[in-house]
Every structure is written in C-alpha cells, then in structure tokens.
Amino acid sequence: MRFRRSYLASGMALGLLLASAFAHRALAQTGTLGAPVPITLAATAADKLVVVVMSGSVQTIASLTPNAINQFPTPVQIYTEWNLPYFFGGTLSLVAYFTNPGQALTTGSANIPSSRVEGRTSGSDPSLLTTWTPFNGNAVGGIGSAGGTQALWQWPGYCGLLIFCRQGDRTDQLDLRLNLVGYPTSAGTYAGVLNIRAVIY
C-alpha cells in the first residue's frame, strides 16, 4: 500500500514535471522574445522664421506725376511663417526698411528719400500700418536703418509669452506709394529696394 502510494506520488510528480516541460516548450515556441534592440530616434525641428514675397516683388510706376501721390499699381503679398521653441519670449515683428533712407530710390544724382515712400498694410491682425505711413522710423529690434524703417506688424501683447503663438503663419498685403507732393523730382527712372525681414527681439 505504501509502495502504491509512493508509486502514485512519483507518477504524479513525473506527470507534473512533464506537463511543466511541455508547457515551457509551448511557451517558447509561441512567444519567444529576443533581447530588445534599442533604436535611438533623433529629429530636430529647427527654428523656423521665414518671410516670402508671394507676389509683387517688382513694383513699377511707368509714368510719375510730379507734385502728386503716385501709388504703385499692385500690392505686395508677404507670407510669414514661424515655428519656434517654447519660451522663446520677446516680440515677433515684420520689419521693412530702406538701407539708405536719403536715397530710397535713385536715378543718377537725383533721389527720392524714404520719407517720401509710404506704406500701408492690410491682412491679418494685428497690423501697424493701417494708414499710409512713411518709411522714416528707426530700426526695430536691431533691424533696419535709422530714419528708413517701419514695422509692418508685431506680436507682443497676448502673445507676450508666445506660448500660444510659437507656431503660425500669416499673409499680409503691403501697398506702396510715392508721395511727391511738395517734393520736386527730376526726370528719370528711379530704382530702389525695400528690404523685409522678420525678427524676434
């Protein structure tokens, strides 16, 4: 009887051992896992602050009228896009300027100063040049020339921390004109370059 019990116990133990072995084998066959191989992913989203003149990059007045306001016929479409890290702080502004305010447009020895070139913007808010304004301001955020600059728009205020506007874009329309009222001009073809740049300061 003892022998039978012992035999029975041994049989059960063997059974359990075999079952365990089979179970282990089954597990190894259906879900064998190799050692994890880590792959490091690195992606840098660089600071983006892009200004593009979408249209109107060349403005022409075929025939100036002396002692009058002469508006350039087509507006300048300016697209600005930014994608900046959190907490970049400061003010985001789009600045337009003439390098040499005394000679915004020139023909030979004759000049039209930047104070006679006026701009007006419309488009996304907030905009600074809602009325015709001469380019006679000082540099903004270190960009521009003294007496030949205007900020077209800037985002301080509710974007002061710029957490909510660290990424965005906007399109603005810039109208330009020459105010020659009371300013005698010599005959000739005047040419000049208006620079546009975005800056955080």
């Binding site: 600071d47 602050l49 892009v50 200004v51 593009v52 003149v53 109107g56 990059s57 060349v58 403005q59 022409t60 007045i61 075929a62 025939s63 100036l64 002396p66 002469n70 350039f72 300048v76 300016i78 600005t80 900046l84 890290p85 959190y86 907490f87 970049f88 702080g89 400061g90 915004a104 447009l105 039209i112 070139v117 955020g141 270190g142 960009i143 810039l174 330009l176 020459l178 005698p184 001009t185 010599s186 005959a187 000739g188 073809t189 005047y190 040419a191 000049g192 370059v193 208006l194 620079n195 546009i196 740049r197 975005a198 800056v199 955080i200 300061y201």
Partner: protein
C-alpha cells in the same frame, strides 16, 4: 530633503527656460527678402506765354509798328541736353496774317527776345521745327541744370519801313512757338 529637492528642480527648470528664451531673442528670418521699386518720370519741356493773343490798333506805313510785349516761359525737367531753343514760325510764310484776300507775309513780321535786334520770320527750318521761309530761332538758354525754368520777353512788330501800309482790313494770323532741347 524632499522640499529641498523640489526647490532645486524648480530653479533648474527656470534656468533652462531662461536660457532657452535668451537664446531665441534676436532670431532673424532668412533674407532679407526684397521688393524692387521702379518709377519713371518722363522728361518734360513746356512753354507758356503770358498772353494768348496780341493786337495792334493800326498798322503804320513806313514804320515798325510793335505789338504789346509779352513773356514766354520755358519749364523743363530733362534727363539730357545742353541747350533749349525757342523757335517761332508761320505755317504759310506768304500769308502770315490774312484779311480776306489780302495778306501780310512773314517777311513783314519781325520779332526779338531780350534786347536783340528785330529779325523777320524768313528763316529755314530750325532744329527740325518750322517752315522754310517762315521761321526764326528766337531764343536759346542753357539747359543746365536739367530741372529749371526761364522767362524772356518776346517783342513782335510789323515792319513796313519803306512800304505803304497794307490794304485796309483786320488781319489775323498765328505765330507758332515751340521749344526744343538739344
């Protein structure tokens, strides 16, 4: 200890934020992008007179009878040129002034600017302007500077020295004036 650890973490986070903010101030867009502005002012040369017409009451025989003096002003805004010339002419030299079938030839019409001597309108085409036999260059002025204005008097008269006066009548005619830059 735990509180101190939090404080250290907070200070560290603020330092990172401040560092990040400082790093971004002064960021510039690519560029600058540019807008080219071109504007052309065409050269101009205009002539005006102080009166539109002049009248003499009676044409004298054997004398030079003057019309009232008037002024001619040239205004110019040029890109080139050295001299501005004033040219006057009659379209039909043989009939500068007409009264019915009677004519006064341009040879009897004399003119001058300033204090120059009177000269008849009998010249050839001048500087491309005028009519052969009915033209006179009246005046020239320096075009420098290229943006300027100048005024001169213009005296006109009918010269019947050695001649009887023309047939009675009211004679009318048109003197053409034009400026040219050369």
């Amino acid at each position: 200890m735990n509180r101190m650890f939090k404080q250290v973490l907070l200070v560290g986070a603020l330092a990172v934020m401040a560092s990040s903010a400082q790093a971004q101030v002064g960021t510039l867009s690519n560029g600058p992008v540019t807008v080219v502005l071109n504007a052309t002012q065409a050269p101009t040369l205009t002539l005006t007179t102080s009166v539109a017409s002049v009248t003499m009451a009676s044409i004298g025989a054997n004398v030079v009878t003057p019309f009232p003096t008037f002024n001619v002003t040239a205004t110019w805004n040029l890109t080139a040129g050295t001299t501005i010339r004033l040219v006057g002419w009659f379209n039909t030299p043989a009939a500068a002034l007409v009264s019915g079938a009677n004519n006064i030839a341009s040879a009897r019409v004399v003119g001058r600017t300033g204090v120059a001597a009177f000269a008849p309108f009998t010249g050839a085409v001048s500087s491309g302007l005028g009519v052969a036999g009915g033209t006179q260059q009246l005046w020239s002025v320096n075009a420098a500077p290229l943006n300027g204005t100048a005024t001169t008097n213009l005296d006109l008269a009918l010269d019947y020295v050695g001649q009887p006066s023309p047939n009675a009548g009211v004679y009318t005619g048109t003197l053409n004036l034009r400026a040219i830059v050369q």
